[in-house]
Symmetry: D2
Subunit: 379 residues, 4 copies
């Protein structure tokens, strides 16, 4: 059993989620490789060492370039803020490393396109952490769609609602709040939250054709943690858009951090000719299913508790009725990535797959500014 | 089209519900008879007249014996407190009237048996207002069971939870609170609430074999509205019982007026070999349905919105998705009673049907006192 | 107690709902006027007579102009297809009748404006049947907003999803399917369903500023019931739009008749700085409420069963826990209309109120065609 | 940082859950000890070795007595079938090991009492894996109760419903199905499922006074995996009981493996004078809360998504809205056990705590047989 050494860059919230994914994958999945948390890289040595100790990394680096150069590192896992993904990923590709990159892939589509080209030229295994594809209920939705059970699709709607930035006293920027700083994040809810919704939508319903967006920044100025000054807020606080898909269905998307009462309410619904599906991250182990082929008086929305052994991934976990949670999507992603390498059938989403989401985000941001419909660019 | 004149005795909460049932039946159901609210009887003329005016009764009576003697009255509707049902019903039967009697039929099984004998001797159409049978979702449950979809039944459980008597300052007795006075009511939650659960259970799952009950009176003394004195509370505030049914299934029943947070939470669930059903009065237009014959990974509880034209009674009302409410069960009961007369197939529950519930209530009260199992008497 | 005679024009689905509203209002509300179903008008005498008999109308008319001329008619209730509202309403106004008109007010904003002018010139009491305002849970939402509990509003979203026109074999036009015929209906889901959402939104959240819409006709041709030929479908099958409100909040609206699994799923959600509200027509007796002022760990969405006597309208009905349904909103509307006349404070929505919705609908239809943002016209 | 070596006996479903608990505890909790999966013991060396490899145990044993003798083992974790708990635990206590024992503690109360005495005599840290106490929502319920928010308690009800043994062709006994073999399990749903409900109830609501039970074995004979013959089934397939608590409240409990549609539906509800609580294992990250102190019209059941950092244990995991699952209760239990050792305040439930549940189970089984009320014995 060969060992694959992981070198992780960044150790924030996502560093924890990814480390857990690497640590658990061999416990629950039959892999031909043993994953090893080898080295974690962060600018502050002390914090990196504390993180390494907790998670059992052998050592730490403070310069990501050094990590990439190391011969004993097989997989580079990028979980830094968005503005450094491109540089790190392209360097790692050049060094021949396997790469797992946190989403969104890039700050924008053009940058993303450069990354795709670099990584494909290097021919290294690569993946982007759109982890929600691997919530069992979501994967199950994909199966049902692929089996043709929905028929012609009429509607796709998705929302990602949060409420954590309503307080205008909340500052922007720095390690904890880089998501509010347009420089580090590239955009607000669009890249942070809608990117998830878009990735799932492309996976389940195909590519986007054109869209029109409405974006808003409710709190116009916030103190910046790095400068200490009150500065203009450059991100979109809220974004709603409507679109057409290549398959002729209509989309309705919305994301905000100002929806009081919602913590991380990522929901989607697909309405097909014959059946419909709903899912909700707040109760992620359930899938709502409506089948028009049921006998008339017995039609209704069925709440499927996706915890049986014949549900995706669930034969690896506990017994029917016992739920798994958010973090398991990362374990699944690691397992699928490794199995993709082992089988020669790379697991999605690759950089190329994730780039499609970048182009949709570009169109959203542009439409939010010029108030016209935009065709989504296809590379 | 022949007119049937209704004479109603009592004009409290149930008087309103029954009057509405009579007033609406011809608007929504094809009946060969026209129902007419003819006379309402109450001890206080002024109040009875006010009620008559609101509902369009032609006149009032203050003595129920006079009402019963009137030749222009066809149907006697009894909605007085429980302790007067027997006397009125037997007199009305002797006078040859059709009789609709509020539930529970009687103060106890022996009294009920006398009533059954009297009414069957008189051969008059008769019915007891166990209205919940005629909530469309409940009637639909009956259809599904009768079609054999559940297979062997293992479990039946029902609860009727309320929270309106927790305050120990609430008095007992009198027009508004006779339900707390054991003299007028006969029992507490057993006759008031469990009687509904038992009637439905007998209808859906067959007769009770034996049971063991636990009853409790949490507030031991309350001021009595009629005497003005603090008096012992004679009713059961709460009652839970377990039982066997003739079909071999197990029952679990509970009722209380001390379940903080529940207004009128009448729920039942039936678990069969092949399928299960749940229903809840708080969302009365929905039926929860689980079918083991569904494909494995797609199994789940289905929430059926019982508002389609192929659902019981619903072709008489609005369009799919538009709910009806509590009061409609009374309209259905009137319509079924009249159609039963017209067709010669009397609608259930008759006095004889309702008497079965009395015998179960007797066993509950007795078991609550002596803490042993009781066989339910069958007349 | 003075009698008000109702003359109703049209006797379809809405004729039934309105008649029930008039028939029940005096049973449950203290009004100074007695409502009397006097005459119903329909082109086919036989059908009108059958309807009259069921509901107790004294007589029928086959020409609405005659009905309007009658001195014994006080209230003209219009429940014909949309294309005749204007002519009838203006004639009735000229005849000095009180007018209750089914929604939407008109085929478009210009026609609506003419109607408003005519009726205001005639100074007759007038109202449009946007009945959903009077579902107790919705009225309760209005109270909570008016008390200032939500603070600054960030988001308003509403959907009205149905699934009854997915079958391409369904024809268009004629008595049963005039809603699919653009000539009779003026528009598709916009005037039929979104009009309800817009009326509620204006009531709860104030007027619309500008919007951008996406409309679609999934089934391009259907057989026409009147011509017998396959004809182009002129209505919008689906419509989604996003908008800004005058109060700075963002709107997201969607309606369709192609959302498999939804019968009449009218839902709305409002997100304020301090609290949020959700409502759903499929469970119309519940209001979902989130209050940020609750203690931190105890925050959550509360499901309020709007059936207590301190909830709007509910002191007129049953007891806590016992739900009312769809039809009751019409009873409330009648009661409020009459009480508005009695008190001299006209109940909303008047024709002028309803005209605001027409202008929003105009902007939607226009934007759906030219794919640009439209400012909503204010008369 | 001192290492504590774990020696686990058994490697079935619970072995996996416990191993995961030990493996993750240091990743998410600040402990002064490092847990090490040292040795796993099973009768079949090959299987034990496979398990050891997956989980990173250093070695295996095939004789549990040898494991107990080893000086390098600090904690003995027992996850064998119920009939071997006593012997192993008492031997481990004699050897001075810390002991974590899978529930139920023993086959019956007398055996349990011996174990308590042995372990207390040995003065070793000890705990029983009643893991549901450590689901964050359940722990939160405990906090709310301890803060006195519920007031006087009237009702406690709990159910644990499953449906996996309905098929009469399912055999009994052997490694996979020892839970159906009364010899190995001691009882059926009582010890397996109700034991959980009882442990939680004692924790939340105090001790049991007396009870009356109804037990049933629906499938009377099953093939036995060890003998190959059809043998009588000795376990209880279903059990419902009612009881009084020492605090005067009434209990209603039920468990079955014949409730079609329920996988592992452990639910409980507590009704207090001022507030009520509901919880459901199928949606384990939610707590339902009703507070009578809320403003009247705003009262309702609140669905609290127990994923905030001010909820029990949740500051160790992800961010608000992101759920954890079943397995995390075991991680919490390990962390609490270790912190109990570190702080000198032993974490509950100890063997002594768990013995209370044994005595309740004894009373249930006895009452199920003789159909009388039983006082629960208190050691």
């Amino acid at each position: 059993m060969k060992t694959l050494n992981v070198g992780m860059i960044g150790y924030g919230f996502m560093g924890k989620a990814h480390s857990n994914g690497f640590a658990k994958a061999n416990h629950f999945f039959d892999l031909k490789h043993q994953l090893k948390l080898k080295s974690v890289c962060g600018r502050t040595r002390e914090k990196a060492e504390s993180f390494a100790k907790t998670w059992g990394y052998d050592d730490v680096e403070t310069d990501w370039r050094k990590l990439i150069e190391r011969k004993d590192i097989d997989i580079i896992d990028i979980c830094t803020p968005n503005d450094s993904h491109a540089e790190i990923a392209m360097a790692a590709a050049a060094a021949g490393k396997m790469i797992m990159c946190e989403k969104p892939l890039a700050l924008n589509g053009d940058q993303g396109q450069q990354m795709v080209e670099a990584i494909e030229k290097a021919r290294v295994p690569n993946m982007v952490w759109y982890n929600y594809r691997r919530i069992p209920a979501v994967t199950f939705a994909k199966q049902l769609i692929d089996e043709g059970r929905l028929g012609r699709i009429f509607h796709y709607r998705a929302k990602f609602l949060q409420d954590w930035t309503i307080n205008p006293e909340l500052p922007q920027g720095g390690a904890a709040l880089w998501r509010l700083d347009v420089g580090a994040a590239g955009s607000g809810v669009t890249g942070d939250l809608l990117a998830h919704c878009i990735d799932t939508a492309i996976w389940l319903n195909g590519e986007f054709d054109s869209l029109s967006a409405l974006t808003e920044t409710f709190v116009k100025e916030r103190k910046h943690n790095l400068t200490g000054k009150v500065e203009k807020v450059g991100i979109d606080d809220a974004c709603t858009f409507m679109n057409t898909f290549d398959n002729g269905s209509l989309g309705n998307f919305e994301s905000t951090r100002y929806a009081r009462g919602h913590k991380a309410l990522y929901t989607f619904e697909i309405n097909g000719e014959n059946a419909s599906i709903q899912w909700d991250l707040h109760d992620l182990h359930r899938l709502q299913w409506f089948d028009y082929k049921d006998e008339g008086p017995l039609r209704g929305w069925k709440s499927i508790h996706v915890t049986d052994s014949d549900h995706p991934y669930m034969n690896r976990w506990w017994v029917p009725g016992l739920a798994i949670g958010y973090e398991h999507s990362f374990v699944h992603q690691v397992a699928d990535f490794i199995q993709g390498i082992e089988s020669g059938k790379p697991a999605a989403p690759t950089f190329r797959d994730a780039q499609k989401t970048q182009r949709v985000c570009d169109a959203i941001i542009a439409s939010g500014k010029d108030h016209t419909w935009h065709k989504v660019r296809k590379d």
